[in-house]
Amino acid sequence: MAHQKFNIIKSTCIPIQIDNCNTDLIIPARYLASTSRDPKFFGDAFMHDLRYNAKGEPVDEFVLNQPSFCEAPHEGCHEIIVGGQNWGSGSSREHAAWAISGYGVRVVISSSFADIHRNNLLNCFVLPVIVSEAFQQELFASIAKDSNTMVTVDLPAQTVTNESTGHSEKFDINGYKKYCLMNGYDDIDYLLSQTDKIEAFENK
């Protein structure tokens, strides 16, 4: 699969203020029976049981159905999720990352991520950005005040900026992963290039 290369993303955000938002919530188990990786299928299932009630009608109060946030992500619009702490806990299902990426989101900002989900996001070319709790709360507050609040995520500089306050934070990412994201490279291609080292290890 060809990956969209990463550089600087400047966009409005979707606030999903749920702490410990687990991957069962991000995509319920019944959508896991698919054997495809169709982005639309998984994007439509994103947060399905919070978005729709048992009859399949949209739940008006849920953020993704609110007039200010329901527009599907596209360049500059809703490409960033600001999530609650411990984002993506629970099941290891990569389908949760496919749902986020299939919905059109390219960055998830939180004060903390569950380890497996964080790796899954990176492998799906969605950038997880860890910020301080204070910065996370400020983002929620800015977005609550003005749903058009722009946030800039600058991967080369490793900074995230709340454009409405001008506040900015540095975020961590290792040099290898940064290179992969900026150049559209997969871990699997890297590993396949290392076969001699793997065989040397096996023969030790």
Binding site: P28, A33, S89, S92, I116, G175, Y176, L192
Partner: protein, 463 residues
């Protein structure tokens, strides 16, 4: 400075440290199930590559398999997934324990009981409860589907090294208190993110005296506090459990293996990034009241009140209670329940069925309760029959079902209907986990058994 158990196994598997990046770690065992593997095999096909070390890979379906019959799967989507796994295994030359065969079961039950998971190994699976296998003294981690493809293609994954934490549990467990209670207790103390970024080692006298089944339960639940892995140093209990099992080393190889495995423990002067200690005496039978496994109380306690919570904590707490249809300060003991589930990779082992049977023996299942008793594997089911436990269950009005993940997650026909209250030995009480709108209380096999008899949440010590 000495090394921790985790460091010893990790260091022995480092192929290389990628410059300014993660570690390339060699994997000894990859387990694959039908849900998280199809897209990984597609990746291999897209790239036109083979499985690098097919002999390291073991596959079996478990999530979609029905527990009432296993002739066929009626749901075409679930059936397709199970058939896809079979096809992929045939195409790529991978050992496959197919649905209904005596080898099949939940991966995290089958792996240890066949001694496919051994001390000192690195073990991965596209499943968060892979942490279970850490109980034999291995590094066992859940991974995503992209990583499954990486392991299939190269026998390696790229991971940053986690920090280490030791959780000591000292003392003797009270009667009626089992490993599940220990895990639910630790989780309530640590919270669901308390071990994020860490690999945990469980130690202390309580663990040393714990059976292998109990240890597997404890390691299984490590992921519920965010831990990357949950290790227990192998000892005589481990060796006695593994010896003679199907894939265990035999004869001279066994002796050599035991000698090597005996070195697998944290050195006395090893330093952990974090260390915590709990007392076994403080632990009572536990239940959960909320929608994460850390939201739990002792069975005779009341749900917390809003006292001392800040505004955002109150909001999250109340939204959990709203879903569960509970009130702050409410006592759950004595509350009527609709469904009982014994099984899952948490509590689907022989010891769990013995414990359940010890409570229900000579009594009758409450007629208002639907009970699903689902062994974690065909081997467990056979053991249940060999020990005559099935007869005890039958006389008490219970039916023994077929091995499956069953009601642990709503992927197969065993779904708890919306609004119904279930008391379950599984590991997750998430919103909708047992079915859309289903409400789940997590508990030990003893608590679930006692509640199945009375029809209300029951302390097994009082039955």
């Amino acid at each position: 400075m000495g090394k921790t158990l985790f460091d010893k196994i990790w260091d022995a598997h480092v192929v290389q440290k990628v410059e300014d990046g993660p570690t390339q770690l060699y994997i000894d065992r990859l387990y694959a199930h039908e849900v998280t593997s199809p897209q990984a095999f597609d990746t291999l096909r897209d790239k036109g590559i083979k499985v690098f070390r097919p002999e390291h890979v073991i596959a079996m379906p478990d999530h979609n398999t029905p527990s009432d019959q296993q002739e066929t799967i009626h749901d075409p989507i679930g059936r397709n997934q199970v058939e896809t796994l079979a096809r992929n295994c045939a195409e790529f030359g991978i050992k496959h324990f197919c649905m209904g065969s005596k080898d099949n079961g939940i991966i995290h039950v089958v792996g240890p009981e066949k001694a496919l998971s051994l001390p000192g190994m690195t073990i991965v699976c596209g499943d968060s409860h892979t942490s279970t296998h850490g109980a034999v003294g291995a590094i066992a981690m859940g991974i995503g589907t992209s990583e499954v493809a990486q392991v299939l293609a190269s026998e390696c994954i790229l991971q940053s090294k986690p920090k280490t934490m030791r959780i000591n549990i000292e003392g003797t467990l009270q009667p009626g208190v089992v490993a599940k209670d220990v895990a639910l207790y630790i989780m309530a103390q640590m919270t669901t993110a308390g071990a994020t970024g860490y690999a945990v080692e469980y130690a202390g006298s309580t663990i040393r005296n714990m059976s292998m089944e109990g240890r597997l339960t404890l390691s299984n639940l490590s992921i519920e506090m965010g831990s990357r892995a949950g290790l227990i140093a192998p000892d005589e209990t481990t060796f006695a459990y593994l010896k003679g099992r199907e894939y265990a080393p035999k004869g001279e190889d066994w002796d050599k293996a035991v000698a090597a495995w005996s070195q697998l423990k944290s050195d006395d002067d090893a330093v952990f990034d974090k260390e915590v200690t709990f007392r076994a005496e403080d632990i009572k039978p536990r239940i959960t009241y909320g929608t994460n496994p850390g939201a739990g109380i002792a069975i005779d306690e009341c749900i917390p009140t809003l006292d001392g919570m800040n505004e955002s904590e109150q909001k999250q707490f109340l939204s959990q209670l709203e879903y569960m249809q509970f009130q702050p300060g409410q006592k759950l003991e004595g509350l009527p329940i609709d469904y009982c589930f014994l099984g899952a990779c948490t509590n689907g082992r022989i010891e769990d069925f013995r414990a359940f049977a010890s409570i229900v023996k000579g009594k009758k299942k409450n007629p208002n309760v639907v009970a699903w008793l689902v062994p974690g594997s065909w081997l467990v089911r056979q053991q249940i029959i060999d020990e005559g436990i099935d007869k005890v269950l039958e006389e008490a009005g219970f039916e023994l079902r077929l091995p499956s993940c069953s009601a642990c997650l709503a992927m197969n026909p065993d779904k708890v209907p919306a609004g119904k209250l279930s008391i379950s030995t599984s590991n997750r009480n998430f919103v909708g986990r047992q079915g859309p709108g289903a409400r789940t209380i997590l508990a030990s096999p003893l608590v679930v058994a006692a509640s199945a008899i009375t029809g209300v949440v029951t302390d097994p010590r009082k039955l």
